[in-house]
């Protein structure tokens, strides 16, 4: 009845680092292929901040006066002020979109294909996160190219380089948040809820559109909420990095938030403790 030998056909050796690299490469490669197949996603990711830049910022230019605040050394146009916020917005949408795709993946079973890989689960989730961050950075630079022709650019060309690590950290933080949310959302329809309860509050209660001292004038409570909002720190880190400076307090806050969200996401997908167990999905 059986023709198999009893010998174990597979080696019990652990994976080599080259095999880890292959796995990471495969996950990034798939994400890139999917991205290429969804051109409309790329276009809409680009159009969204451009609408804010060309319409909203142009309209508000005369309404909102921005005083000289760091890292700016002169008065800046409103378009210049909101550009870091819009860069972070691209990453915010991207992070939430990849969380949507993870919910979708889970419903469609692709997430399960990923999770039956023999690599450790933290590594698989990390690879998925890394791939998402790479895609979001690509989108931010596409936006910066267009902004450049609108005469929005860093004081020196080095700003384009120094902003990269900031974008990587912000992408990681937002991706981890998205991943954590994806483990909490059971159904696709709930993504509308993510828009209402995550994206909009995070974006508006931050320093993306107005400096926080202005918020403080209006409401100290709102100011308090803004100053603990991880998105505020994301925007400020990008704003300073674009001007070749480091916002240390924002960096510290972002590192803390990133570790918190990462820990939560990995725990949520941990088979032993995970929320998946309780929900049965």
């Amino acid at each position: 009845m059986t023709t198999s030998s009893n010998a174990d056909p597979l080696s019990a050796r652990p994976f080599t680092s080259a095999q880890y690299a292959i796995c990471l490469g495969g996950v990034v490669w798939r994400e890139a292929l999917r991205f290429l197949h969804q051109r409309e996603r790329f276009v809409s990711a680009l159009v969204r901040p451009l609408v804010w830049l060309f319409i909203f910022a142009a309209g508000f230019r005369s309404v909102l006066g921005i005083s000289i605040i760091p890292p700016y050394e002169t008065y800046v146009l409103y378009e210049v002020y909101i550009t870091p916020g819009l860069m972070a917005m691209i990453q915010l949408f991207n992070g939430m979109q990849s969380s949507l795709s993870m919910v979708y993946d889970r419903e469609m079973g692709n997430m399960r294909t990923l999770l039956v890989s023999p690599f450790p689960r933290w590594f698989l989730l990390g690879a998925k996160l890394f791939a998402g961050v790479a895609v979001s950075i690509l989108q931010v630079y596409a936006y910066l190219v267009i902004a450049f022709f609108w005469e929005i650019e860093p004081p020196t060309k080095w700003g384009y380089v120094t902003v990269l690590p900031a974008l990587a950290l912000v992408g990681l933080m937002l991706g981890a948040l998205g991943m954590l949310l994806s483990s909490l959302i059971k159904q696709l329809e709930n993504f509308a809820g993510v828009m209402n309860f995550v994206i909009f509050p995070m974006f508006f209660a931050s320093s993306a559109l107005y400096p926080l001292w202005r918020v403080k004038e209006a409401s100290p409570w709102l100011y308090y909420a803004c100053s603990i909002n991880p998105f505020t720190h994301a925007v400020e880190l990008i704003r300073f990095a674009f001007y070749q400076k480091i916002a240390w307090d924002s960096l510290a806050a972002l590192l803390a938030y990133t570790s918190l969200f990462l820990f939560g996401a990995i725990r949520a997908y941990d088979p032993a403790k995970g929320l998946l167990t309780r929900k049965g999905g």
């Binding site: 009845m1 059986t2 023709t3 198999s4 030998s5 009893n6 174990d8 056909p9 597979l10 019990a12 652990p14 994976f15 080599t16 095999q19 880890y20 292959i22 796995c23 490469g25 495969g26 996950v27 490669w29 798939r30 292929l33 999917r34 197949h37 969804q38 419903e107 469609m108 079973g109 692709n110 399960r112 294909t113 990923l114 999770l115 039956v116 890989s117 023999p118 690599f119 450790p120 689960r121 698989l124 941990d270 088979p271 032993a272 995970g274 998946l276 167990t277 309780r278 929900k279 049965g280």
Partner: protein
């Protein structure tokens, strides 16, 4: 440990979603080179069992000592008994009768340790590797075909297979070689460049089976693989998998609610409301119930459980 461990050992597995008990003390083995069917209606606990075996949820309880060791002898019956060793084979043979008599099955394990109050517990071992303690080694030896379609529809068949290869640490060159061999075996060698979207339902299933076997596992798990297929594609997939068992000595756990997919010589585990009501060779289960066929035996088993 006497000789080599079975392809799959499910040991006293229990699982609850809140207060709802999805699995209650389920034990069975799938021996190497055997086709085993997990038969149950929708809601019987098949999907939960599947999630536990694939490590999506953890099967963790630790309370598998003692009782579990005896359980290997007790709960696995039919063809399984022959591999356990001379000492227990006599008892196991008797057990076929015992295990199939309705509620008795549940007591095999329960009587040995009295851990009935446990909600989540038990263990799953794949070729002796515990899925909770050593998921890396266990998952390397396991191929899985999920009930939901899991191919990336926008990508080509080859791209789908290469992605899977990468997830098992197999690089693109070796991955392509394995993928071509796997597709040839599935009779789809000429479809490698096609988008997955352009395949028929039956062809997608074949690709999914080819993908699950790409990394060379000796145990294949299929969760209701024929759902949504027409009659011809259904028969085709079933024949394909049976052929793999016969020719390549693969161990298969085939989850289904369709009685006509089971042949008399198959090992069958009957799952009903989270409990394994019977476990043995289909023909022997039928004979023990005095039924005319597996369908009638299934009805009698579940009726006895409810009555």
């Amino acid at each position: 440990m006497t000789d080599s461990p079975p392809a799959l050992a499910v040991k006293r597995l229990s699982h609850s979603y809140g207060s709802r008990k999805a699995l209650d003390d389920v034990s069975f083995n799938v021996e190497r080179g055997c086709f085993a069917a997990l038969l149950g209606l929708n809601g019987a606990g098949k999907s939960t069992l599947f999630s536990l075996v694939t490590g999506l949820y953890a099967a963790r309880g630790g309370a598998t000592s003692g009782g579990a060791a005896r359980n290997i002898g007790g709960a696995t019956s039919g063809g399984a008994a022959r591999n356990i060793g001379g000492a227990t084979s006599g008892g196991a043979a008797r057990n076929i009768g015992g295990a199939t008599s309705g509620g008795a099955a549940r007591n095999i394990g329960g009587a040995t340790s009295g851990g009935a109050a446990r909600n989540i517990g038990g263990a799953v071992e794949i070729f002796g590797f515990d899925i909770a303690n050593d998921p890396g080694q266990a998952l390397r030896r396991l191929g899985v075909v999920f009930q939901a379609r899991t191919l990336d529809l926008e990508l080509s068949v080859m791209q789908n297979l290469l992605y899977h290869a990468a997830l098992h640490g197999i690089g693109p060159v070796e991955g392509r070689r394995l993928a071509e061999a796997a597709l040839a075996r599935a009779g789809l060698a000429d479809r490698a460049g096609d988008k997955a979207r352009d395949l028929s339902g039956g062809q997608m299933r074949r690709v999914e089976i080819a993908r699950a076997l790409l990394h060379g596992p000796r145990l294949l798990l299929l969760d209701e693989p024929t759902v949504g297929l027409d009659i011809k594609a259904r028969a085709d997939i079933l024949a394909h998998v049976r052929d793999l068992v016969r020719r390549e000595g693969l161990a298969v756990l085939w989850t289904t609610h369709l009685i006509d997919e089971i042949e008399p010589c198959d090992q069958v585990v009957v799952l009903h409301r989270g409990r394994a009501l019977a476990n043995g060779v289909a023909a022997e289960i039928v004979a023990a119930r005095g039924a005319a066929g597996i369908g009638e035996a299934f009805e009698r088993l579940t009726a006895a459980e409810e009555g």
